[in-house]
């Protein structure tokens, strides 16, 4: 199993490179970073434009530019932006912002999604099951940006009803916030709730649908009956034998679910003014910046493949039938 996972990891490195190259090539072909420079009034001298082209290696073939960029990247230097700032300096902070959002969203999404799915399955065809189904489909069919805006609106209503700023929807912290550890934590949580909810809701809806059907499969299964025949109460049999088995297919879903989450994350960061990787990607595209685009793509590719790899690991942990070999 360890060898299998190691081999998978090697394959993933190759996949990451392919994904990044494709993004790099697409960006390099379509972006025109000096266009804005030329459009200035009065136009800058030709020498300035040529210098900028040389600085951005615009006249070199794309594969060569990619190799040069990659060569630096493996050494920790992801190049400079069109406005000549170091990407590597900015990178850790942005990664931190995004990971906080993504991880929290994933944990909340999976946790609540599984619980909701199990609850719906056990109470199949009751009101709560229909309500959960309705909620899930509404969420799944709502674009993330709309969901974000709706939540913002609801938070405004809540705040004005409460007469205090309970939920904050811009940034990660209040700028220039002064206070002790606990006060700082509360401030962070106030900022965190809405963006996390925005991406977690989709995840909850997604996982709960699959968990519900996996659980329904298990509910009618013979081994659950065997467990009860042994003397387990229904509730205990459901959790110890039923849920444990119904979790197995969730491991596979994790890989896909995480991809969905990142897409949603991009919008969420924008809406709530979080300066994370998603926000950066949008900024990079606006600025016709190939290096930012490639860097963010590499980051996303790594995340997606790590999640795929974790999927394999979880699967092996959950299901003894795939553990061998």
């Amino acid at each position: 199993m360890a060898r299998f996972l190691a081999r998978r990891l090697v394959n993933y490195v190759a996949l990451c490179l392919v994904a990044t190259f494709l993004a790099f090539a697409l960006a390099a072909m379509t972006f025109d970073p000096v266009g804005k420079l030329q459009a200035r009034n009065p136009p800058p001298p030709q020498a300035t434009i040529d210098a900028k082209r040389a600085e951005l290696r615009l006249d070199e073939p794309i594969p060569q530019r990619f190799v040069l960029w990659l060569g630096d990247a493996v050494q920790g230097d992801f190049g400079r932006t069109v406005v000549n700032q170091s990407i590597s300096d900015e990178l850790p902070r942005r990664i931190g912002v995004s990971l906080r959002l993504f991880l929290l969203g994933t944990v909340v999404g999976i946790g609540l999604g599984v619980i909701l799915g199990v609850a719906s399955a056990i109470r199949q065809y009751r009101f709560s099951d229909y309500a959960a189904t309705f909620f899930s489909f509404v969420i799944l069919s709502t674009p993330v940006f709309l969901l974000g805006l709706l939540l913002k609106y609801l938070a405004l209503e809540l705040n004005s009803a409460a007469g205090a700023q309970l939920l904050v929807f811009t940034g990660e912290t209040t700028p220039g916030f002064q206070g002790g550890f606990w006060a700082a934590l509360v401030d962070r949580v106030q900022h965190l709730v809405l963006p996390t909810l925005t991406i977690a809701l989709g995840q909850i809806a997604y996982y709960s649908r699959y968990q519900r059907s996996a659980m329904l499969d298990v509910l009618g299964s013979d081994f659950l009956r065997t467990a009860q025949a042994k003397g387990l109460t229904r509730r205990k049999a459901l959790f110890k034998h039923g849920l444990r088995t119904a979790l197995v297919p969730m491991a596979t879903l994790f890989a896909f679910g995480f991809g969905l989450l990142i897409t949603g994350g991009t919008f969420t960061e924008r809406i709530f003014g979080w300066y994370g990787m998603g926000d950066w990607l949008v900024y990079g595209i606006e600025q016709d910046d190939t290096n930012i685009t490639a860097t963010v793509t590499l980051f996303v590719a790594v995340l997606v493949l790590i999640s795929g790899w974790l999927s394999d690991v979880f699967y092996a942990l959950l299901d003894p039938r795939v553990r061998l070999r």
Binding site: F4, R7, S221, D222, F223, R225, T226, A227, Q228, A229, K230, G231, L232, T233, R234, R235, H241, R244, T245, V248, L318, D319, P320, R321, R325
Partner: protein, 720 residues
Amino acid sequence: MTTYESDVLADPGRPGEPSAALLEVSDLEVSFPSEDGRVRAVRGLSYRVAAGEVLGIVGESGSGKSVSSLAVMGLLPPSARIGGSIRLRGQELLGLSDTELSRIRGRKVAMVFQDPLSALTPVYTVGDQIAEALLVHGGRSTTPSAARNRAVELLDLVGIPNAAERVKAFPHEFSGGMRQRAVIAMAIANDPDLIIADEPTTALDVTVQAQVLEVLKTAQEVTGAGIVLITHDLGVVAGTADRVIVMYAGKAVESGTVDEIFATPRMPYTLGLLGSIPRLDVGRGQPLVPIEGQPPSLVALPPGCPFSPRCPLREAACDAGEPELLPAPGAGPDHRAACIRTADLAAADAEGGDLAAELFDAHVVEAERVDAETRIDREVVLGVDRLVKHYPVRTGGLFRRKVGAVQAVDGVTFDVRAGETLGLVGESGCGKSTTIMEIMNLDPPMGGSIQVLGSQVEGLSRADRKRIRRDLQIVFQDPMASLDPRLPVRDLIAEPMEIQGFDKDHISRRVPELMKLVGLRSEQINRYPGEFSGGQRQRICIARALALEPKVLVLDEPVSALDVSIQAGVLNLLDELKARLGLAYLFVAHDLSVVRHIADRVAVMYLGKIVEIGGVEEVFAAPQHPYTQALLSAIPVPDPEVERRRERVLLTGDLPSPANPPSGCRFRTRCQLFATLDEEKQQRCIDVEPPREGALPAEPDAPVADHEVACHWARIRTVV
């Protein structure tokens, strides 16, 4: 089973509580909601089980036998409505909460389920699951390590070799038979008073069935528990039970000791059921009793006897009211039947003769008997010569290296001649299905050759292949799955003819003809498969297969998905069609009784090879290969007296992996004969693969019969 067993059972109960009923079910009613109204699955069932007694409950699917036992366990879904009373040692179980019941389940009453493959939780080890049964009821005094040690003992008790190691295995690492043993180990873990076994061997191969029944017997000896054995197999009941209840349409229609029920049934349904089973010890001359019609719907059942629409003894009074289960006249004190004509039945029985056959008007289909002498002159319609089919085993990596081969079929040779039936038998995994799929493919085989109606399949053009398909048709095992539910019967039967380009007039004339031929009414032509019962659907499949007037019909377990009373009708139909149309059958089955009834010749397969082949009479009367002997011996005969006298050849272990078969003779690892041989002879079995040779003559001067065996040390042994 052995006589020792029956001696023990003749004296049920333990000292001090001789007459106390262990389980007393009275007036049990179970109903479920359905779209058409409430389904009354069990309607007023009453029975008692004494300590140490084995009660057999038999009935066909939908008779309510499983539902009633789930009611005892309190494991019915919440939508079920349950009435009546279920008392265990005097304690009322109905109305107890789940928590209260959970203290009884597994400790006082244990259950063994039908499908061992799905009965264990896939994510926990077998040992943990057995230990769990102990820990749930053990209280504080049972430590996890003590429970684990006990689990090893229990696994050892139920006959799992190397139990201390195997206890750590996951269910998927166990074969079906081993899983059922593990479930039995779980059931006896807490020394229960009552074990309910719901079709415990139905999903298993016959040799494994014999092993598991033996384990169940051991379990009973160890625990002294009463057993409720639910099954549709009257053979299993005959050899195992002390008393029998026959259920029909949610009610007990007859009950009594096992000998009474089998020797002097007093309810026409029981009589018909007994007559519908092909018997291993009778063979071809036996008329099979088909019970016409099908069990009634349990929604809004009309008044009167539920069996009357199918009953040959029906009279006006039968429909007036439902008869009660009353003592049968002229029978033992415990023998009861729910029929108003029991006296007439008793009188008819006194006259002698085959009552079931006379009553249900069953007769032997007089097919032209194909005898061995003229066999050689008849045309070979299907010939298979040294057929090989190996499936590669590959590594999971990028290059998918080939690391071995599953030798599904490894050098199989047989032929089917015009007008005869060859039965191909063997346990699951022996390669019989692969063999027929290779034949039906009409593609050049991996090794050896296949010849259909005089043409070799190698080098056939597409057009040739299409032409040959007209003469070679197949009927599959599961009639539910092999008919498109969205097509009406007309289209289903017409499809082969449309593909072969027959004109519309021909087709519209043929379809009603075919339906009549297989015993369906032509008014049903526009109905969909869902509106037919299992037996009728199989008839549709047969009609479809006959549409092109084939010469050879391949029948892949055509009756194994059907209830016995329905099975008899389909077997009779096949017999009749063969006689009328001069068909040749390749009949694949695991049930040797069915093969004995329908086939002229039989080929026994084991691990991809044919170990014995020959005329049905020769092979069944004087089997010479140890595997054939074991296979025949494992099949229960529906006659308690015969069963008690029979000595079982029990095979050990499971089928070896066909990816890595034993050297020499493939059967030697499980062979009962091998164990008795001296070392020199054993070495020969290990080194040399036995060739298929003409068998020993049954009597010293008998002419050489149509009989071949692949065994170095073949000898005759009568086992039926």
